[in-house]
Subunit: 273 residues, 2 copies
């Protein structure tokens, strides 16, 4: 793949520039010649879906995904039903913004019973599939690092995500490979191969020690220990050549000038992805 | 199992009372009627092996394990050989203190190449086995949580640990099940069953969110989300009825009076293990 082609796949996951609202992020992408963006729902909410769509369309950007649906487990059937409703709104937003990919962060357990929570995730996805399909949106299960098993997602390995996705067609449910969440997995390359045809997104950042914060401690590509380039090639070997989202959740980036962040993102992407 | 029998299995892993030297920890165990202790090497070093042995023997304590050997990967063959030598000292210390269990924290990679680091761990263990066997000491591989893959151990699942242990007899190499490190694993109960006959220790603490510190953030049993009791029973189903180490690495415990900590440890153990 030529350098140009690779750079054309760079997508700004909006959380990387959390200091910017959607308009600022869209304008930033245009200034820095980034043609993809992944949009977060709390940013859509600030200005409304209609205005969000107009901004993105007018700028000629493509939306790689909407972040995020999921959060399925809950203590009561009523709460779980409310979560399904909220996911339906997320599907509508994805469709309206012209992306076929809704990223699912599947949610923590409501109590100590992690097995039941995992079953509730599978159930939640099953309930959503027809609605998503009707809207031309695929559900992209993102396994989260096991250190988030208690507070963000009980889906913690690519194996789990692919096992759920396998129950559906590739048009309905797939997986996201985020290097930060899966790099440690002893079966990683086997699992990437197994996910062939079901990979709906590839996210990059890095893992640097010591980590200042478990949630907001992700590093710029190249600053940590992850074999990002090896993983990118393994994902390409399965046939995925779609957008590559730069998703760096890091307070120190949010405290900086967004343009400086984007410059560094592009440089790190070119050198280390 | 009667309550009494369970309480008799409680072992104080010395890191739980890091504020105490070995003499204080031994005296604390006696005062609180705890008959097992797991000894850390930096505490042995403070007073020497001979004095450590005398203290423990005079108090009538049993040593459940020595913490820790391991740390196998390194950039050069020379450094790896030095690490093997250090592990031999650890084996001698375990034997001298009358325990047959040396806990291995296997170490991080020297660079980005995690596959090679994992191979170096297997190699290191292979080199140590004869020496350990000669000393009547078993090598107990403790898989560490994947969040420690970059800085403490590239062995991150019970599956990995058991796969290495399977190459040896149960007298030579086994595994440690520490609830904090493995609770999130979707294959946990299958892997515990698979480790039957090879489990050399069971460690307890808890996972509470938010976690103040990735390393020093473990919680008292019952304060977090881990199904400790379920896991204890699964480990017993494999035939392990040995000591259960309370290993809580937490700065706030270290800042407290050690006797208060031991009181709480016993109470939490009785209620939640």
């Amino acid at each position: 793949m030529t350098d140009d082609k690779l750079m054309n796949r760079l997508s700004l996951n909006q959380i990387t520039t959390e200091q910017w609202n959607l308009q600022e992020a869209v304008e930033g992408c245009v200034r820095h010649d980034i043609s993809w963006i992944s949009v977060w729902r709390h940013k859509i909410e600030e200005i409304g879906l209609k205005q969000s769509k107009r901004l993105i369309q007018d700028a000629g950007l493509q939306v790689s995904s909407v972040c995020r649906g999921g959060m399925f487990p809950a203590a009561t059937a009523k709460e779980r039903a409310e979560k399904i409703d909220d996911n339906k709104r997320a599907i509508e937003e994805a469709a309206e913004l012209g992306t076929d990919t809704l990223v699912l962060v599947c949610g923590p357990s409501a109590d100590k019973d992690i097995d039941t929570a995992r079953a509730q995730v599978a159930e939640g996805i099953d309930k959503l599939v027809p609605y998503a399909k009707d809207h031309g949106v695929k559900l992209a299960i993102e396994p989260l690092h096991p250190m988030f098993a208690a507070d963000r997602s009980v889906i913690n390995t690519l194996n789990q995500a692919t096992t759920i996705a396998e129950k559906y067609s590739a048009n309905e449910v797939g997986v996201i490979v985020d290097v930060y969440h899966v790099w440690w997995d002893p079966n990683l390359y086997h699992e990437i191969e197994r996910a062939k045809g079901k990979i709906l997104g590839f996210h990059v950042s890095d893992w640097k020690v010591p980590m200042a914060d478990m949630f907001k401690g992700r590093a710029m590509m190249g600053e940590g220990v992850i074999e990002i380039n090896r993983m990118r090639k393994a994902v390409e070997d399965t046939g995925y050549y779609g957008p590559i989202e730069v998703e760096i959740i890091n307070q120190s980036l949010w405290d900086r000038n967004g343009d400086d962040v984007l410059k560094q993102v592009k440089q790190s992407f070119a050198n280390h992805v």
